[in-house]
Point group: D3
Chain length 205, copies 6
């Protein structure tokens, strides 16, 4: 049984990026924890978004949901963000961490990625997921077959109703998410997949 | 009115990679030519595959279909391949060339890409398309909105019936092609798109 | 007729990087707007530099010149810079944006590039220009033939008289600008060119 | 129990690159097969080198040793090499393949890497190992902790006595191999490791 | 006789990264100066660490040791850091600068690298060294043979006794440093070497 | 006094790429040798082109001019090319080798570069020069100030009169060569420069 941590900058980042893999971890009996660095107050009510986040966490059946209490759109890659992540890392001692790729045009995602690489430097596996604002030079190296958990992933992403009024990024992402899963599956030789860049990867043979 | 050339290593490569963009060129009134370097005899009857190729060319309504008469699975990046492409380039004087990306695990695609960059060195726009064996570090820079021509693209790809018996690559590609178009559309901010790496691009303002 | 926005960190950045392309847009009848994020007060009088900036804008015949009121040498990639750019983007709804490449040793340029990619995420074309402190791994993908507007470009860059006393970067850049235009032209197969990395590029066939 | 294939261009390539990982597979109960594409006749007697190869295979306790019968220093990335690998792949149906990285100044290694990516396109994990002529831009993504098998790895590499008379590459490699293992271990957070670029990696959660 | 500057974010960074090269410069008669941007107070007493730093500087026999007075873990890539470096650059006018690579998961190292590239923009050689948290895509281009100074390098690194109690990074680095030197030597064709990415390099023939 | 070897695929490649640096080596008292792999018979008379080559070698005052006797447009990266280079390397034992960059759309240049990296694997410095068909992702790391030898370089390139009738590449290159030298100078902080990617570089402090 492994301890798994997923880090997101905003509510819904984790779901779009790696909910399928997290559900696989739950299937396998791992402990799964979420750390959401902000409450996403820049594109909605913090309260509403936190609520959606908790609902999604319930659907995934995670073992803990943490908030980092950082300010939306102002996540830096320095001490404060690293501390917020290190605190949770110290508590749950993750074997595997999922975090947003640094190759992202959204500063919060980019900086959350950098900060996780610092905070998780003693963890053996760090996988960086893609999302709505990921850059075109994202080059996935590791794929997870999510054929068994794709429906659950879709269910978690539909929880974020508040974002459908938002002026575009989320609605577009929702529309594309099935295409993305199929394309990543195609690259991996399976039906549907999530794709990750390697932050760190110690392969246990 | 522009002259447009699409180069493929095998029957069906062009369709999977850039049929949507080619159909856009036809809509706009451009002349479109196809050059297929081999008849794909390694995974089917050369005759049958050539026939499928001609049928697809008819659906696209292209202005000319050339065959390069090279040997399937043995396309090199040297003189012989460059000559085959230069001959057609000399004849139709293309303003825009589409060719397979060099970032491909299939040697025929990789070498067709290299040879096109040599043969097309005096052409102003060369765009490199992706396909069934493209590597994960393909980094598209230019996108074409194919919302208006996606159905026609799908129609051309279904012509290659002989490939459905082949042990996998084509069937998988067909299954994924809609997902890929949606994902590339998502990256480009449109419904469905084709994505290209730049070989050369002189932007006419 | 398109709406075009050029973003620069300091007075003279836009001129060195993309004045030739902007003049091509004006020739073609497009609306062209400039957004200069700081007044360059770190290497001269803000007043003098703003004046030079206005003079250059007159020579180019632009349709609007905006200042971002950020502090020279302190441009970050966060909320404040993104807001300054989004404000102008919202007003002029650009079809094409020019911005400094992120591959730059000058923090203001690097961050202006990142912030433009965020602020312009719904725009269809973003091209990143090179300048005096661009890194050696700048890899242009798109070129613009500026044979018709090179003289005008040179004229705009000579307006920045205050920078000739500055201890070097600008004087060196001026000296090299003709060589650069010829080299980029050589790569593009024309006489003189400006070269850009693609931020985003939806190619309208 | 998995089926594992290691591909090398010459006798001793596999040992230097991934003998530690192969020994880990044996410890875990996997079936391990070696495919050596040439007998290394360019730097020694084919007979002697084949003998060393068999001795090393015995030490590792592998389940099968295949020779590809290609000509040393003349390994291409085309049909002939792909066929030699596909034949073995068809026979042992590997779950994991180890092959030389394509980022290598030695043409045999580079081409063996390319050909394995083609031949192994339906395999779920392909890891590319480094060696004596690997280029400086080799960027490992996956590490294997070989603390338990490092001594065995060293033992296999010492078998290649004929290469110590060779004018340098092997002797240097032997000298460096301990340093390399420690450095890769350091990057991975363990004592000694082998490092791999990802050809393909479907991560089984 | 050249003037040489080494920039480090914390006490011990310079020693791990380039003490061998600095000792070569001293052997050759160059003037060598160190600039340590923080006193490393995040992982030990600032006083103790400054003392270790001075002791190491004595062993190397450097011609000057400067402190940048920045806050540990909070080094940014902006004005303040650039100023701290420019001040020393202005004073000693270095011909060669050594600085941490920007490809590092530790924000202080990354930002010290960026700031040095800005501050040293008029210097002819800037070499970026690797360290305990350098990323896997560090691609050294320039190597220095440190066979004659490796023992001295080791001696300087052992001075940092306070760091052995620290929870890991330094102890691991110390353990790996000999392996690293051998591996880099192997890549360079010598016994032991230090490896650098090029910030700038004007080669004096 | 060093031994220096420049490798070119065709007559005129070396002159365009590194004649300025070679002239600097001669000024400094080094021995300079040229190895031209083909006689360029694909774009002119082999006899005429060899003659031009000898004339240019005289102007540079080189210590030896070798021909590789390979077939123009058919230079491969395999045994035959490596042997042709190794033969000269064995004879003159170069300290520094100049060769065409592998990032080139012309197969002869690309393969000459690969083969030199193999043949020169025991040499301490290999610098890869750019030319008329170099790709846009050429990223120079090392620059040579050729202010003192630029006129001589231009003189050598004008010797290749036969190429002015050729349908373009050389004429364009000649026109651009001054712009390129100024741009590379600008990047290096000098008047005119040649720029190189590092094949290998052992820096002698």
């Amino acid at each position: 049984m492994k301890s798994v941590l997923a880090v997101g900058a905003h509510p819904d980042d984790i779901e779009l990026g790696c909910a399928g893999a997290l559900a696989m971890h739950k299937q396998r009996g791992d402990k799964v924890y979420l750390l959401v660095l902000t409450r996403g107050e820049a594109t909605g009510s913090a309260e509403v978004r936190e609520g959606e986040c908790r609902k999604s966490a319930d659907i995934l059946g995670v073992d803990g949901l943490f908030f980092g209490d950082l300010a939306d759109t102002k996540v830096h890659d320095g001490r404060e963000t690293i501390d917020a992540i290190e605190k949770v890392v110290g508590e749950i001692k993750p074997d595997v961490i999922y975090a947003p790729t640094c190759k992202d045009t959204h500063q919060d995602h980019r900086n959350a990625g950098h900060a996780t690489l610092s905070a998780g430097r003693r963890c053996k596996v760090i996988l960086m997921y893609e999302g709505a604002s990921t850059q075109r030079d994202f080059t996935p190296q590791v794929f997870v077959d999510i054929s068994d958990t794709f429906d659950l992933k879709m269910k978690t992403t539909r929880v974020f109703g508040s974002q459908f009024n938002n002026r575009g990024v989320y609605a577009v992402a929702m529309k594309a998410i099935e295409g993305l899963a199929k394309f990543r599956g195609y690259q991996a030789g399976v039906d549907v997949a999530e794709a990750f860049e390697v932050g760190k990867f110690l392969f246990e043979i």
